[in-house]
């Protein structure tokens, strides 16, 4: 079985984000594997360990995204591929899902593509469902458990975490699976894994390598524009500290919250 996990390199979730001259900044914080993707990477490795075959990590991004791919290799992915090209820059979900679909099609033998729920930079969560549509594969977004997988029969039974609870679905492979946090506990890269990954030669595929039509990628292939990014307005006012015995505090707070009409 061939499992592909799509990852993105993002600023560390602890970073203090800012905007300078219209560009997003994250201070001294490093770039990491998108935290949601760690669960998808772990699931890819577990599937490979359980059912055999291989796990490939795929990232679309700048050259620096190879560091994120090295983390995938260090955790236990077998191969990694960087999809990188100046013409892919500025792609929205429409164009990104197109390019990823082209890369998956080039691999040819993929049974499952895994994603984290969303990337913590753009936060759209649109690429997994878009890729499923592009490929015409079963869309299993918000998956919290892969309950059964029959590689020979190419069937899957998954549990999806929706607003009202868990939805149990069955589907046919190939499938695109979006994961949520509770699906597993991601492992740490092993010492051996880190050593192996540091020496790995990660191939880069260009837009031409995967047969992208130039008008379907980058700003031309995108429907969306996001010309302005700005910091949140600061919350007005300062905290009003309440003091006294617990009962006195409770009385004061109840008065205030009822007056604010939030209860």
């Amino acid at each position: 079985m061939h499992v592909v996990v799509c990852v993105k390199q993002t600023p560390d979730s602890a970073a203090k984000m800012g905007v300078e001259n219209g560009k997003v900044t994250w201070g001294e914080a490093g770039l990491v594997v998108n935290p949601w993707d760690e669960y998808a990477i772990e699931e890819a490795i577990r599937l490979k360990e359980k059912y055999g075959g291989k796990a490939t990590a795929l990232s679309m991004g700048p050259e620096s995204a190879k560091e994120a791919l090295k983390t995938c290799l260090a955790m236990g992915c077998d191969e990694a591929i960087l999809l990188s090209d100046a013409t892919l820059k500025g792609s929205d979900a429409l164009a990104t899902s197109y390019a990823l679909a082209k890369a998956i099609q080039k691999m040819g033998d993929v049974d499952i593509v895994l994603f984290g729920k969303q990337a913590i930079d753009g936060d759209t969560g649109l690429v997994p469902i878009g890729l499923a549509r592009r490929l015409g594969w079963a869309p299993l977004t918000y998956t919290i458990k892969i309950a059964e997988l029959d590689v020979a029969a190419k069937t899957i039974r998954a549990e999806r975490l929706l607003e009202q609870g868990r939805q149990i679905v069955t589907g046919q492979l190939p499938a695109v699976i979006g994961t949520v946090k509770d699906i597993n506990e991601p492992r740490y890269p092993s010492f051996m894994g880190i050593r192996k990954a540091s020496k790995a030669n990660i191939p880069t595929w260009s837009a031409a390598d995967i047969g992208c039509e130039p008008e379907k990628i980058g700003p031309t292939g995108s429907a969306m524009r996001w010309p302005t990014v700005y910091p949140l307005p600061t919350r007005e006012g300062s905290v009003e500290l309440l003091a006294g015995t617990p009962e006195e505090i409770a009385t004061q707070l109840a008065d205030k919250l009822l007056a604010d009409k939030v209860i």
Binding site: Q172, A223, T251
Partner: protein, 328 residues
């Protein structure tokens, strides 16, 4: 079906999602700039009786697709209906709630329609006939203005509770038109087997009041007073990542960057220091109350009311007080 603004009405077991009503309210506001009326698309099985409530909340026309293949939301089946109708009637804007279903539906439809999807908008404004949407990025640490200039329709999901729910007007009138499903069962790659629904669970995204516990609750048992206060107030129980990662409470309760993003009227943080990742998930709450032992905890910078003290003394006192006030 000639209206320019459409709204996807999400229902689960015959109950319309709050975010769909909020989208209807926002659709009506858009008609002031874009003209025309509001068309709503309602799908399911045995759901036609919900059409009147959809009209009362702002629709002029309701398209109802009823079929066994639509009984449960499946993105492929629902997308096929939406895309077919949109290709025929060419709406300018399609709104939905930014729920798991609304996000998937619009994301999938955007591929078929070759247009742009905007996920999780918190404000809309029409500029030169184009909807400019404000949406949080970097987990709410920054905001971005996004738009789909040329391609149509503009597919926009609205964050639950970011827009007011309109008051229903039972005197409103509108038309109800039946439309058909677009795919047969054997063309669908997934089947819904069952739901495991937690009847007692209040969805964090829809909650008006959230009471959350963090590292300061000290263990699974420490959530008992926090849970009691949430129940007293009819609110939902939240948690910080620290408490979830410690295994004290399931992930479904997590508020923050790798959990849920919420915006209730009242957020009471008990024993939560307020790491930047937690703030990202709750800072749009209308009123924030912080209860923490550490007077330097960052949560106090966000809070309107703060109590520096022991949550195990303060929280039970609050529950007792509210039980009295609310006559429970």
């Amino acid at each position: 079906m000639t209206n320019k603004i459409w709204v996807f009405i999400e229902q689960f077991k015959g109950v319309i999602a709050q975010s769909s009503f909020e989208a209807l309210g926002e659709a009506r506001k858009l008609t002031a700039d874009l003209g025309g009326g509001v068309t709503a698309l309602l799908m399911g099985q045995g759901v036609s009786e919900l059409a009147q409530a959809v009209i009362a909340h702002g629709a002029d026309e309701v398209l109802v697709a009823e079929d066994a293949t639509l009984a449960e939301f499946r993105s492929e089946a629902y997308t096929a209906v939406l895309v077919k109708l949109a290709q025929e009637h060419k709406p300018e804007v399609i709104l939905a709630g930014a729920t798991t279903r609304g996000r998937d539906l619009l994301g999938m439809a955007s591929i078929d329609l070759g247009s742009g999807a905007i996920a999780d908008a918190i404000a809309l404004k029409v500029v030169n006939g184009v909807v400019n949407a404000t949406r949080p990025v970097y987990a709410g640490k920054l905001l971005s203005t996004v738009m789909c200039d040329e391609r149509r329709p503009q597919l926009i999901s609205l964050r639950p509770r970011a827009f007011p729910k309109p008051e229903p007007d039972s005197a409103r009138t509108g038309t109800v038109t039946a439309v058909s499903a677009a795919l047969a069962e054997d063309a669908l790659p997934t089947k819904v087997v069952e739901y495991v629904v937690d009847e007692n669970r209040v969805s964090l995204a829809d909650a008006r009041i959230i009471v959350s516990g963090g590292r300061g609750v000290g263990g699974p048992e420490g959530f008992a007073p926090v849970r009691e206060l949430a129940e007293t107030l009819g609110g939902a129980l939240g948690a910080s990542r620290a408490a979830v990662d410690a295994g004290w409470i399931p992930y479904a309760h997590q508020v923050g960057q790798t959990g849920k993003t919420v915006g209730p009227d009242l957020y009471i943080a008990c024993g939560i220091s307020g790491a930047i990742q937690h703030q990202a998930g709750m800072r749009t709450s209308k009123v924030i109350v912080a209860i923490n032992k550490d007077p330097d905890a960052p949560i106090f910078k966000l809070a309107r009311y703060g109590v520096v003290g022991d949550l195990f003394k303060i929280v039970p006192a609050l529950s007792a007080e509210f039980k009295k006030r609310l006559g429970k």
